[in-house]
Amino acid sequence: MLSGNKTSYTNYLMKQLPKATAFVSNSFEIVHASSKWETIFEYTNKAVIGRPLAQILKMAIAYWRKNPGYSQTEDSSNKSIERYVDSDGNEKWFEWIILPWFDDQENSIGAVIQTEEVTQRILYQSKLKNLALLLEEKTEIAKRGIWEYDAVKDTLYWCNTTKTIHEVDNNYVPTIETGIDFYKNGHSKNTISMVLDSAMKDGLPWHEKLQLTTAKGNKKWVIVTGKPIFKSNKYIGLIGTYEDITVHEKSKNNIRKNEHLLRTLIDNLPLNVFIKDLQSNKILVNRSEVEFCGHQDENEVLGKDDFAFYDKKTAKKLREDDLEVMQNLKPLIGRELVHTKKDGTQTTFLTSKIPLIEKEGEVYGLIGFSIDISELKQKENELKSLINVTSSQNNKLINFSHIVSHNLRSHTANLSMLLGFLTTEKNESEKQKIVKMLTDASDGLLETLDNLNEVIDINTNTNLEKKPIKLNHKIDLVKENLHAFLINNNAKIINKISNKVIINIVPTYIDTILTSFITNAIKYKSPHRDPIIELSSKKRGKYTIVSITDNGLGIDLKKHGDKLFGMYKTFHDKKDARGIGLFITKNQIEAMNGKVSVNSKVGKGTTFNIYFNDEN
């Protein structure tokens, strides 16, 4: 047993030990403890000495018990790290060492336990372990492998992911040379050799996209990075990553290919293709559309709407169509519209517009296709006008053949009938009467043939050259020719046509036309008044309209309107009415692409409006 004084002195010494230390008796009671021990293990306000060992030293005690006769060893098996949770619930780690305690006679009287808090160290260790795990996980997920070259030992390290990328097994040991051999001959191998060289010599990092052939012969795209590492300014190696981007690269290639295919397709379609956003701005255009808009570069067209290229009216219509498609979400197919550009040129397009709808059902624009049908349209119009010309000519022909047949028949029928009488007639004076009639019938036939010839002439010479003629000059000529006729009938002509009026006509026709209408007006004058004929003119589009108004008998147009310009149609009981004048006049006017209309009131007078076509 220890003496009191000696104990207290030893106690004092023990208290000041720098490390947390406890002296434990063979009966497991703490005999001495340093102040630090007391602080750490929260013995502050309690008597430490003589108390049994606390829970925290269970392990030390267990060890001691297992090795009762131990001696001081160097194998550090008497060391360990224990976890301890303090009264506040904080987790702490302690490294302890247990040593035998001897008295003066070298008798074992207990043990010395020295502890040191290693909580911080333990935490760092576990954090490091976690980080390593995390890194491994990360490289695996990202398919990004690590490589490290130790220049001092000339060894190359590949992590498992790097090995997987190269498709070698986990035991594979790479070298710089075998590593380079994986790269594809040509660009990839040259590049990696060059960057390795410049990294080693000049300390330059790199980041390259290269191709390699794996151990299994597969082609892969990788991004390889590397940078030199230095220790005290001395180059000691390289570190870097491998990233497998084959899938990415393949899909990128596919997308590029598809894009190219699509672009080639839309650029070479004989259509204008465009995509518009909700504001009708063009966000995609093909080459035809760019060229149609008058540009070379699509950037001159993109982002602009139709108001930039067409006149307001066209652009407005196009915008209305766009809105209709985007609001109703229904495609507009085959809309035919004449597009007028800002410079006035016109193009007829057949356009289809289809709404572009997102997965969520929201419309975000439209795609349009336009085909230029201007030429087709023009052909169609030409065809239509050709059909009109043909059918009108056909009608004229049928009319004419009826006229011919009717008029010739009426004379030949008479001739045949009279000849029939002549052969059987006995009476001499009757015979002479018949011969006289035969002569009349024959003269009539000749005259009819002459008239028909005239009509045929007019209709076959439709290509007679039209010339600009001063209208009043011609009127004066006709007036002069009809001078005697006008005086005999007390007729007066009022000419309201300006001297400036010039019409485009066949010169020989205008004489007949004017003469025919003027003599007609006087022939069918009213018995109650002297004839007054008024001439006037006005311009309407391509026509110069010459109006000839008289104060004569007038015609009941309801009864005779359809026969007015017919051949050998007469409406008045006038001896010299032959019914040929208006028929020929009408043919002449029509041969010059003109037309004629009539207004009349019985007893008041008649107005003929002659439309002279000023175009050739």
């Binding site: 009717h406 028949r409 009426s410 008479n414 009938m417 009864k559 050998y568 007469t570 008045h572 009981d573």
Partner: protein
């Protein structure tokens, strides 16, 4: 030979009128032949006969193409007159236009009068046929 009281010839061509008259003379017995140069004069003549309660013509020879009032206009007005007896109307024309033929069919179906369609020249045989059927 049947005797006809009154025959009308409506035609503006004097030769045709002469021919028809001459043939009628040789094949038909009749009291009167009246000639008119157009439809208007003819219809006025018929209206006058009605007014004066005289006998209407039993046979009419009608040209189509005439001034002032043509054959169709005459026919249109004639069939609208209140005439109870059946009158033989013979269209005599040089027209071979199908439209005229269709018009004739239309008028023939519209009236109780007997309307025939003949091309010029008409011969004696036809005149006899016409008179017979009247």
């Amino acid at each position: 030979m049947t005797k006809i009281n009154h025959i009308y010839i409506i035609d503006d061509d004097p030769i045709t009128v002469f021919g028809i008259r001459k043939m009628i003379d040789s094949v038909v017995q009749f009291d009167v032949i009246t000639t008119h140069g157009n439809g208007k004069l003819a219809i006025e003549g018929i209206k006058n006969l009605q007014k004066e309660n005289q006998k209407l013509p039993e046979v009419i020879f009608l040209d189509l193409n005439m001034p002032i009032m043509d054959g169709w206009q005459f026919l249109e007005e004639f069939i609208s007159l209140p005439i109870k007896t059946k009158i033989q109307i013979n269209i005599v024309t040089s027209s071979i236009d199908g439209i005229d033929k269709r018009k004739w069919e239309l008028y023939n179906s519209k009236t109780h009068h007997n309307v025939t369609f003949n091309h010029k020249p008409v011969g004696k045989k036809e005149i006899i046929e016409i008179i017979k059927s009247s």
